[in-house]
């Protein structure tokens, strides 16, 4: 018997300035199934779900969404919610200071002419909690719950709205094993009650455990949809489909080879988050040689960025234990200032949030980390500043009409180049690049890779954090894989494959 399709997305294309995030994607969900959506970071999974939920409104994408029998044109999130689609994001949308029952009915309060019926609310909230297997007092404030229970409250909230399609974006990413197990069982239970779910996840074991069907996205395109009941789904099949792309020509070849001199070495490096109290890094040891590009692979949230920041002056104030040796000198940087002083630079993953000063112009952004060099007496030599900035603009081919252009008006690729220029002006020995090509187009990527090759040829050492496996494989001399705050493997480039990295990253 052919079951009814509750959702069909046909020919969905969505472009951001300079990047095609979704390219003619087709995706359908059958009523009553659990459908997993998998793919590498940046493959377009979250974008697809944002199109579905109306975060990207009708008109910003092309293609059709057919939900529950009719074509839908969602202009905002409310529209999709009203038709019975509930999307639960990684960052939970609960209000910590409010109680469970207030959160569950937030936005659709049980009311009589504007006056909330709290008794009825509490009673119904209790029922919803029982449905998700949470036997606790609905009076409790959200902030007093663990992440696992918050996730369940979020689902209860969706159920209270008569949800027809539940979309979960990496629901288990922040959960421990027990909580994850719990959540998956709940989804299975809800399935028997007729709730259809779409789950985005990186954990392939979960996919195999729970999915009825799986759709794989790669580079914004639908690669395949596999049926678990036909035995089509296995870890190796999924990985092959997720990463199977040729990396020839995307990465410029490198002539130079690293020397044997170790310039950067970390041993038994652990970090504890003071506020959350949990260990973000656990006895990490690694080293980088002069002129080497070391890849730091792993999934998002594995602790790669935390590692970089804990080294680079520790702006998050983790409790740190371990040793760091830069150019033969034992160091502990109390502030990014100290790290810069010793020749360590960190290009952050989120250039808009903490990389650039968007309201300032290109030259001011390039020089901000090393104004000392431009000092003439008491003042900044603005002519020298223009000359320096002009040099980097040429070297990195930053496309702009003027150095006085505000950075927020540049494209992602050019912003990233400004960000790189800023750190090259510091003239570091060790450059830590955190997702150096995130959100930029192929052409700009190639330019950045070429630049990285030039830099190591000049004797700089690079640590490259990346979620894109092809990039890790295409650019690194050596690879460390991080998972849950630990180094789970070190691979010379000759032995590394996308499959074995993925294995190390997910275990």
């Amino acid at each position: 018997m052919e079951k009814r399709k509750i959702l069909e997305m046909r020919g969905i294309t969505k472009t951001f300035p300079g990047v095609k995030a979704l390219d003619d994607v087709t995706f359908d969900v059958t009523e009553g199934e659990i459908h997993c959506l998998v793919g590498e970071n940046g493959a377009g999974k979250s974008t697809l779900m944002k199109v579905l939920s109306g975060v990207y409104p009708y008109g910003e994408y092309s293609g059709d969404i057919v939900f529950d029998g009719s074509v839908r044109k969602f202009r905002q999130v409310r529209d999709s919610e009203r038709t019975g689609i509930a999307v639960i994001y990684q960052e939970l949308a609960l209000i910590p200071e409010l109680s469970i029952y207030e959160n569950i009915f937030l936005g659709h309060e049980i009311q009589n002419r504007g006056v909330v019926n709290w008794n009825e609310t509490i009673k119904q909230a209790g029922e919803m909690l029982r449905k998700v297997g949470l036997e606790i007092n609905p009076d409790i404030k959200i902030k007093d719950l663990g992440v696992g229970k918050q996730q369940l409250v979020e689902i209860a909230k969706a159920l209270s709205r008569d949800v027809k399609l539940l979309v979960l974006d990496e629901p288990t990413a922040a959960l421990n094993e027990d909580d994850s197990e719990n959540l998956l069982e709940l989804l299975k239970g809800l399935k028997t009650q007729g709730v259809t779910s779409v789950m985005i996840t990186h954990k392939l074991k979960e996919v195999i455990h729970i999915a009825d069907r799986v759709t794989v996205l790669r580079d914004g395109q639908t690669i395949c949809t596999l049926d678990a009941h036909n035995g089509e789904v296995s870890e190796s099949v999924l990985i092959k489909n997720m990463v199977g792309r040729s990396i020839d020509n995307v990465y410029p070849g490198r002539e130079s080879t690293p020397s044997n001199e170790v310039v950067f070495e970390v041993s038994d490096w652990s970090a504890v988050d003071r506020i959350l109290g949990h260990k973000v890094l656990d006895s990490v040891s690694l080293h980088v040689k002069k002129g080497e590009i070391v890849g730091l692979a792993g999934l998002m949230g594995a602790g790669r960025t935390e590692f970089a920041r804990s080294i680079f002056g520790n702006p998050d104030h983790y409790l740190i234990d371990g040793h760091l040796v830069v150019k033969g000198e034992e160091c502990l940087f109390g502030h990014p200032e100290d790290a810069i002083e010793k020749g360590v630079a960190y290009v952050s993953e989120d250039r808009k949030r903490n990389g650039l000063i968007l309201i300032q112009d290109i030259k001011e952004n390039i020089t901000i980390a090393n104004l000392r060099e431009l000092k003439k007496g008491f003042v900044i030599d603005t002519n020298a500043e223009i000359i320096q900035a002009q040099g980097y603009r040429k070297a990195l081919d930053i496309k702009t009409p003027s150095l006085e252009q505000k950075v927020n008006k540049l494209s992602g690729g050019n912003q990233q180049k400004v960000s790189l220029a800023k750190w090259l002006f510091v003239k570091p020995h060790v450059l830590i690049l955190d997702e150096p090509t995130r959100g930029i187009d192929v052409g700009a990527k190639y330019e950045i890779y070429t630049l990285m090759n030039d830099l190591v040829a000049q004797g700089m050492s690079i640590i490259m954090i990346s979620s894109e496996l092809p990039e890790i494989l295409g650019m690194s001399d050596r690879i460390y894989v991080v998972s849950e705050g630990k180094i789970t493997g070190e691979l010379p480039i000759g032995e590394a494959t996308q499959e074995n990295i993925m294995q190390l990253a997910t275990n």
Partner: protein
């Protein structure tokens, strides 16, 4: 051709010149409505002296708002430190030249104390400085509890707020009614500004950098010269330059130099533009916070001295609402609430707009209640103008 270029240049910088133009129109309107009394040398001189204690606060507040904070405590801090100065002179018989630096240092310390919870504990500046507002208000009342208003008999001290720079070129034959020293200072200032601009322009040209078109550059220089000339001429017509004006000019000059030309200034704007990026760029955000609040406290001390000197006494209500006037002046002068944008000179103009309104409306005999309404409308208008032109510029 030149006119057309001028048009585009003006449009590009409409945000920078907007308030200057507004100030110009305010002057014209009041001059007409008061039959010229407003523009008289005597009134302008008074107006500038009245602006002094708000202007120095506005300068400090500008930096505070640039780094995304606020300081509500500075009004009563100013009043309290004025009272401390009075007590030190009248009851403790400290000489003036000890009292002035002492008050400035006390102000600096008070600013650093406000900065501590903000920079180190992450407490919002609004709350931290509101606590200061209450504390200094109480301290001012305590200090003046026994005596009430303290009259300051010291001539040297009172000259700060009421006196004028003596005319060393005084003459009964050549322009007997004008203050020649002021004219000379004005002339020197004009020559200095123009020579400096030409030098900067030549320097830039020698590097092959882009500079303003020659006609527009000349027009700009003429405009500046005429403006400075007019201000000088009007000032010299009534006792010349006051000590208050001299002090304000020095403060604005120093702060403008530091914010626009030095590494510290660049760091302040960077912290305001994006504190996280600044921190990761090796800028010590907490150090910058201490410096900016410290400078604010010191300027509150200066403001207290100016006000006490002007009234020749310390009163129980000195400093009331000064902080809000300073904040209003800074916003009128183009400082952005979102941080990272604003200039010291802009805030000085903002302060001038603010006191010009008061002075003009007083001369017109408009009662105080309507004055508040007008000032509020001007503040709202200025901020709306700023946001609107900002959006225009972003397109």
């Amino acid at each position: 051709m030149a006119i057309k270029n001028l048009g585009t240049e003006l449009r590009k910088h409409v945000r920078d010149y907007g308030m200057l133009i507004a100030l110009f129109f305010i002057f014209i309107i009041f001059t007409i409505t008061t039959n010229g009394i407003f523009i008289s040398s005597r009134n302008i001189s008074n107006l500038l002296n009245q602006t002094g204690y708000i202007a120095v606060l506005a300068v400090g507040m500008t930096l505070i708002i640039i780094i995304r904070h606020i300081d509500l405590s500075v009004g009563f801090l100013s009043g309290f430190l004025g009272a401390v100065a009075a007590i030190a002179m009248v009851f403790w018989h400290f000489p003036v030249f000890v009292v002035i630096p002492m008050v400035l240092v006390l102000g600096l310390l008070a600013g650093l104390i406000t900065a501590y919870p903000v920079a180190k504990l992450g407490i919002p500046a609004f709350v931290a400085s509101l606590a200061g507002w209450l504390i200094y208000r109480g301290a001012l009342l305590l200090a003046t509890l026994k005596t009430g208003t303290i009259i300051i008999p010291n001539k040297t001290f009172n000259a700060i707020g009421n006196g004028y720079v003596p005319d060393i070129f005084a003459s009964d034959t050549f322009l007997p009614k004008t203050h020649k020293l002021t004219l000379v200072i004005g002339l020197i200032a004009i020559v200095f500004v123009i020579v400096n601009s030409i030098k900067t322009r030549k320097n830039k040209q020698s590097y092959g950098f882009q500079v303003l078109d020659k006609d527009i550059f000349v027009l700009q220089q003429i405009f500046i010269a005429v403006l400075l000339g007019l201000v000088t001429w009007v000032m010299s017509g009534y006792n010349g330059m006051s000590w208050t004006v001299a002090i304000v000019l020095v403060v604005v000059g120093v702060y403008s130099f530091v914010t626009k030309k030095t590494v510290l200034g660049r760091h302040i704007y960077a912290v305001g533009g994006n504190p996280e990026a600044a921190e990761l760029s090796g800028i010590n955000v907490s150090k910058i916070t201490f410096i900016v609040f410290g400078s604010m406290g010191m300027l509150a001390g200066l403001s207290g001295l100016l006000f006490a000197s002007r009234l020749q006494s310390a009163t129980t209500t000195a400093g009331t609402l000064f902080e809000l006037d300073a904040i209003a002046a800074a916003f009128i002068g183009g400082v952005s609430v979102a941080g990272g944008v604003g200039s010291v000179v802009g805030s000085l103009i903002g302060a001038l707009v603010y006191t010009s309104l008061t002075s003009g409306m007083n001369l017109m005999g408009i009662d105080i209640s309507s004055q508040y309404v007008v000032r509020g409308a001007v503040l709202a208008g200025a901020v709306i103008f700023d946001v609107a032109t900002g959006k225009l510029g972003n397109k």
